[in-house]
């Protein structure tokens, strides 16, 4: 059998570079979120007993386009994702990981005009 460990070793070595590591971790987090949304939609679809073709008809898209979306063969557009969520009686939300604390307004914050 061939030794297929080159990629793991190569990545481990290249990712010692802090710039690469930072971007890699950032990209993985971004991908995780996109994947999670698409997989959650697919699970809702399956739970609702709705075929991809029927979901496509419900949102006015052709079924090949929706099929391609669920197999990651094309980049999901937000409006299509939102339409599918609505068709499955769900919604998309952005949840801040941590809320920024807003300082109380003071006179110095006011922009004076005129």
């Amino acid at each position: 059998m061939l030794d297929t460990s080159y990629h793991r070793k190569r990545s481990a070595q290249r990712l010692l570079d802090p710039e690469l590591r930072l971007e890699y971790d950032r990209a993985r987090r971004e991908l995780d979120q996109i994947n999670e949304v698409m997989r959650a939609l697919d699970e809702l679809r399956v739970d609702a007993g709705m075929s991809k073709a029927r979901l496509a008809r419900t949102i006015g898209r052709n079924d090949a386009a929706v099929r391609r979306l669920f197999t990651a063969k094309v980049n999901p557009e937000l409006r299509t994702v939102a339409a599918m969520a609505a068709a499955l009686d769900a919604e998309i939300r952005i949840v801040p990981r941590r809320r920024k604390r807003r300082a109380p307004a003071t006179d110095g914050d006011l922009v004076k005009t005129g």
Binding site: L2, E19, L20, R28, T71, K73
Partner: protein, 148 residues
């Protein structure tokens, strides 16, 4: 309630090695800007964990069509919107078939990559070069890959 299934083993990621010993995909990644390089690795690792037909790659991993059918590309943008593409082939089949290829399991084979300025297209000749390398890769039993 959905039953918890054990996550399948991630696919291997392998690099096609040319007859002259060069490794085009690795060489390509090394000349990419660091951020592009890192994002390529992230997408490939993501797809290896959840290979097709599962959704993975966040939309940066796309099946190619027409003369490039059977190939997948990872798409990334760099500085000045320069476009970077990494071309891959999926290695899957029965254990016997994978064994014939010298592979212990399914794998993503990284063939080569190309870059182009924004709003330009690769030529037919560019794609021909990718196809030639891919065809050579697929003709090898066992596969000729970069080993450690």
């Amino acid at each position: 309630m959905r039953s918890a299934k054990a996550a399948p083993k991630p696919w291997d990621v392998i690099y096609y090695r040319a007859s002259d010993g060069s490794v085009p995909a690795s060489d390509f990644l090394d000349i990419c800007p660091p951020k592009v390089h890192a994002r390529f690795l992230a997408v490939i690792d993501d797809v290896a964990v959840a290979p097709p037909p599962r959704f993975s790659g966040g939309g940066y991993w796309e099946a190619m069509h027409g003369s490039m059918a059977g190939y997948y590309e990872v798409r990334q943008s760099g500085p000045s919107r320069e476009q970077f593409r990494l071309f891959c082939i999926l290695e899957n089949g029965s254990p016997e078939e994978l064994g014939r290829r010298g592979l212990p399991g399914p794998a993503i084979a990284l063939i080569t990559g190309m870059r182009k300025p924004w709003m330009t297209k690769f030529s037919g000749r560019d794609y021909r070069r990718v196809l030639d390398l891919g065809t050579e890769h697929l003709a090898q039993y066992p596969r000729r890959i970069k080993e450690s």
